[in-house]
């Protein structure tokens, strides 16, 4: 009797377990989603290109209800972004932390020796590539990149000042690349805190040129204070809508067309902490696909003349590995590597 009762009980438990299992199964199939607010780290200060894009994404996600949990953006730009990257590296397995990158993902560890690399993080998706444009004040005589480079070549050594964001980062890397063409003359590279400051310093003629991202200088261009000479991409921009009275982004020649064989683009991508599960990565890939499908995103891309390239998975990983190698080579050539790198 007792045994019979026991067996009934056991069977009951078994049934309950099966029921529980059945209840769990659809949940597992339904894929992972965030259970608390997602921290979106910006490894740069407020107001710059990465900051603008991250806050924009935060806004688009909130406005279109793309996620149940909110995104909270946090600026951690200390130590040329090392602060933010180290935090993500430490947050192993935490799927509620994502980070937006700029080139300092590659340049900061190479230039400062701070121990992190992209391999410590989990690649999620490439959102876009940010362009670089060679700008001069509108009332200087240079109409093409070639004229400007020739002027630098003809001038005194270091008499032309190139303004840029940060030191041993993308802007200075491009400057060093340009110096191959102006050899033996060099630029004086003047590092500033942010791209907005650089554009203003250029309008005020405290420097002779800059390689600002489009979004950082577009307003000054519209107002007729700056002139774009060339874009550091293999082909012209696809945006044909007029920005000024006479010119669209697509009217800016590539640097190659103007006889300046230099190309450089900056990754605007998303990474997560190490040790996160594939379905967690998949959630964010899907989320960013939804963000990119919005009309707001398309307007934002056009405003900043971004190169719209989306990548995820292995394709993205391969791209990042190649970009890392490229930065290593460029920085080695420029002598920017930290001791021991």
């Amino acid at each position: 009797m007792v045994r019979a009762l026991q067996s009934t009980a056991r069977a009951g438990i078994g049934v309950a377990m099966i029921a529980a299992g059945a209840a769990l199964l659809p949940a597992a199939a339904q894929a992972w989603e965030p259970t608390k607010p997602v921290q979106f780290i910006i490894p740069a200060g407020t107001g710059g290109g990465a900051d603008q894009m991250a806050r924009f994404i935060q806004g688009v996600v909130a406005k279109n209800n793309l996620m149940k949990q909110p995104i909270i953006t946090v600026n951690k730009g200390g130590g040329a972004g090392a602060e933010g990257f180290l935090e993500v590296k430490k947050a192993s397995g935490d799927a509620h932390t994502i980070i937006i990158t700029l080139s300092n993902l590659f340049t900061t560890p190479l230039g400062t020796g701070v121990p992190f690399s992209w391999k410590d993080l989990t690649p999620v998706a490439m959102l876009a590539l940010d362009q670089f444009v060679l700008w001069v004040p509108a009332d200087t005589p240079y109409k093409t990149a070639k004229e400007y480079i020739d002027a630098v070549k003809a001038g005194d050594d270091k008499s032309f000042k190139m303004g840029g964001t940060g030191s041993k980062q993308e802007d200075q890397i491009i400057t060093v690349a340009l110096e191959k063409l102006t050899a033996p003359k060099k630029f004086t590279y003047v590092p500033y805190g942010g791209g907005g400051t650089v554009a203003t310093q250029l309008v005020g003629k405290h420097v002779n040129s800059s390689v600002n991202n489009p979004i950082e200088a577009v307003s000054q261009w519209k107002a007729g204070a700056l002139r774009p000479l060339c874009i550091f991409d293999s082909k012209r921009s696809i945006y044909t809508a007029k920005v000024t009275a006479t010119m669209a982004w697509s009217d800016i020649p590539t640097c190659k067309e103007s006889g300046v064989n230099t190309e450089y683009q900056m990754l605007r991508g998303i990474f997560m902490a190490p040790g996160v599960k594939p379905d967690q990565v998949a959630f964010y890939v899907d989320l960013f696909k939804k963000v990119m499908a919005t009309a707001d995103w398309k307007t934002f891309m056009e405003q900043g003349a971004f190169n719209q390239t989306f990548m995820s998975g292995d394709q993205y990983k391969t791209w990042v590995a190649a970009a890392d190698k490229l930065h290593y080579d460029l920085m080695k050539e420029a002598g920017f590597l930290a001791p021991g790198k």
Binding site: K76, A80, A82, D139, S167, V190, V203, S219, Q303
Partner: protein, 549 residues
């Protein structure tokens, strides 16, 4: 329509920076401007004065005051946190609410500085120098009224500047290159020399420690790490807010504990007419107010920011005031000067953001991000393309500041009454607020420990008679001054004459040098006077000489 043509004219002046417009033409433009500005402003008031916008304004002010009171949170963070709330609002309403948070935070920063010696915001540090001593003497209500009123005056003048001179003044900001920035920082340091009443060597030691702490972290000019000794926590350097919360807030609690666990301000009387009484006194400080407004507006536009403005204004007020020797002991003028300048700077910092797209302050930078999300492109074209938005914002600056002043002034007796709470209750509360504030800066526990270390340093400094203001000033502006100096040196290829290369930078540098050596000049003057006195005495008799010696 007239407005449009007029704007186009201004646009053409912006198009060619550096072009000299004939004086007559410029006057004509400015003259027509004024009429148009007023018409546009009235249009702006119509936008801002809807019930919905007025309600948002009050919500913004209250949130802002709370944000300002909590140290470490800060206006920039507060605006950043609340930014997503505004994405579903119309852009004009959104910016009205966010800018009101900003005004509220500017007002709120003064409250904790005066009552507890904890500056809620970097630009409130200078307010503690005299505001807190006043509170200790039982004059907290007076200090608060002075602070709020001065803030209002500063902001009002700056808004008027934005209304009528925006395009003209915006061009001035373009004149500022690295050399000019350095000259401004140099002037700030120079106006602070001789602040301490003790030994000048102690001032120097304190300032040098500040410079050393300020240089930890990434060297922005060479892109390499300095003085981090391989510790990742030191990458970000010593944040100024953590140092200030520790040195002032925790240091103050330690001192109070020693002096018998009570706040010396506890005998504060609650006077309901305190506001009116203080206003009468404030009228006599009009020169200080004007000077502080000028400093503030200038620093806001250039964009030096509210923090150097408040320090510089305090330093100059002390230098030029008849009662300069009493500064630091609870002089009302020492509250008026930094508060007026900080608010004038904080407000006029929005001007370069609107007209040039460069943020004059961290909060302005976050607002700039907001503009982009609302689909507005900040920069020279904003005034032309988004008239409703710009003038709605400017009108809300007037209304927001008036609303803010009313809110905070009615609360003055309430704030002053906080000091009557027994120390044993309030001290733990302050400690928690300080710790939360320090944590919020980088979301890191390391900062909380650093805050405690700074607290002990602050206490030891007080015991040994080393002044804290030079230390704080050096942490705040040291790295910026260094960066500007090195940028200028790069540009001039090492030639120091760049600091006298045009009238603007030359005059600021010369003023700085004069101020720097002023104590020496007065000291030499006194010495000569006493020496000539000695000579006269010598002829009169040797005994007199001995006495003089």
């Amino acid at each position: 329509m007239v407005y449009q043509t007029c704007r186009d004219e201004s646009q053409s002046t912006l198009k060619v920076p550096g072009t000299i417009i004939p004086t007559a033409a410029r006057r004509e433009t400015t003259g027509r401007y004024t009429v148009d500005e007023i018409t546009s402003l009235i249009g702006g008031f119509k936008v801002a004065l809807s019930w919905y916008n007025l309600a948002l304004m009050m919500v913004g002010i209250l949130l802002g005051v709370i944000i300002g009171v909590l140290p470490g949170l800060g206006g920039a963070n507060g605006v950043a946190i609340l930014l997503p709330l505004t994405f579903t609002m119309p852009p004009t309403s959104a910016i009205i609410m966010l800018s009101c948070i900003y005004w509220g935070a500017l007002f709120g920063g003064a409250i904790t500085s005066i009552l507890f010696n904890i500056p809620g915001e970097p630009w409130s540090v200078a307010t503690t120098f005299d505001g807190h001593p006043m509170a200790q003497k039982g004059r907290a209500d007076e200090a608060l009224t002075a602070a709020f009123t001065s803030s209002f005056v500063g902001a009002l003048i700056a808004v008027m500047l934005i209304t009528f001179l925006a395009p003209l003044v915006a061009k001035f900001a373009l004149q500022f290159g690295p050399a000019e920035f350095f000259s401004v920082y140099f002037l700030t340091f120079a106006s602070f020399v001789g602040m301490g009443k003790g030994s000048p060597f102690k001032v120097l030691a304190s300032m040098c420690l500040g410079f050393a702490l300020g240089s930890v972290g990434l060297d922005k000019v060479t892109g390499t790490l300095r003085m981090t000794f391989g510790h990742d926590e030191l990458l970000v350097g010593f944040d100024f807010l953590i140092a200030v919360i520790g040195l002032f807030g925790i240091g103050e609690i330690l001192s109070s504990m020693e002096s018998g666990l009570k706040f010396s301000g506890s005998h504060a009387k609650i006077r309901l007419d305190a506001v009116l009484q203080t206003w009468k006194k404030l009228l006599s400080y009009w020169i200080t107010s004007i000077r502080s407004c000028v400093i503030g507006c200038w620093m806001g536009i250039t964009p030096g920011g509210a923090t150097p403005a408040s320090f510089m204004s305090y330093g100059l007020a002390k230098r030029f005031s008849k009662s300069g020797d009493n500064f630091g002991k609870g002089e009302i003028e020492g509250v008026v000067a930094p508060e007026t300048a900080a608010h004038a700077a904080g407000t006029s910092a929005l001007l370069p953001m609107l007209t040039l797209g460069i943020p004059g302050s961290p909060t302005a930078a976050v607002l700039l991000g907001g503009l982009m999300i609302w689909g507005l492109q900040p920069g020279p074209m904003l005034f032309v393309e988004q008239k409703d938005f710009v003038w709605g914002l400017i009108a809300s600056m007037y209304l927001g500041n008036i609303a803010g002043l009313l809110v905070v002034l009615t609360c003055v007796p309430l704030f002053a009454a906080i000091l009557r709470v027994p120390f044993s209750i309030i001290a733990p509360v302050i400690l928690v607020i300080c710790a939360v504030g320090a944590y919020t800066v980088h979301n890191s526990m390391f900062d909380v420990w650093m805050m405690l270390v700074f607290g002990v340093i602050g206490y030891i400094f007080q015991k040994l008679g080393y002044p804290l203001p030079p230390l704080v000033l050096a942490i705040v502006l040291g790295d910026k001054a260094e960066e500007a100096f090195r940028q200028a040196m790069l540009g001039s290829q090492g030639n120091v004459s760049i600091f006298w290369s045009n009238w603007l930078v030359g005059s600021i540098m010369t003023l700085g040098v004069v101020l720097l050596f002023w104590p020496l000049v007065t000291w030499l003057g006194q010495k000569r006077k006493s020496r000539s006195g000695n000579l006269a005495a010598a002829s009169a008799g040797a005994a007199a000489v001995d006495r003089d010696k």
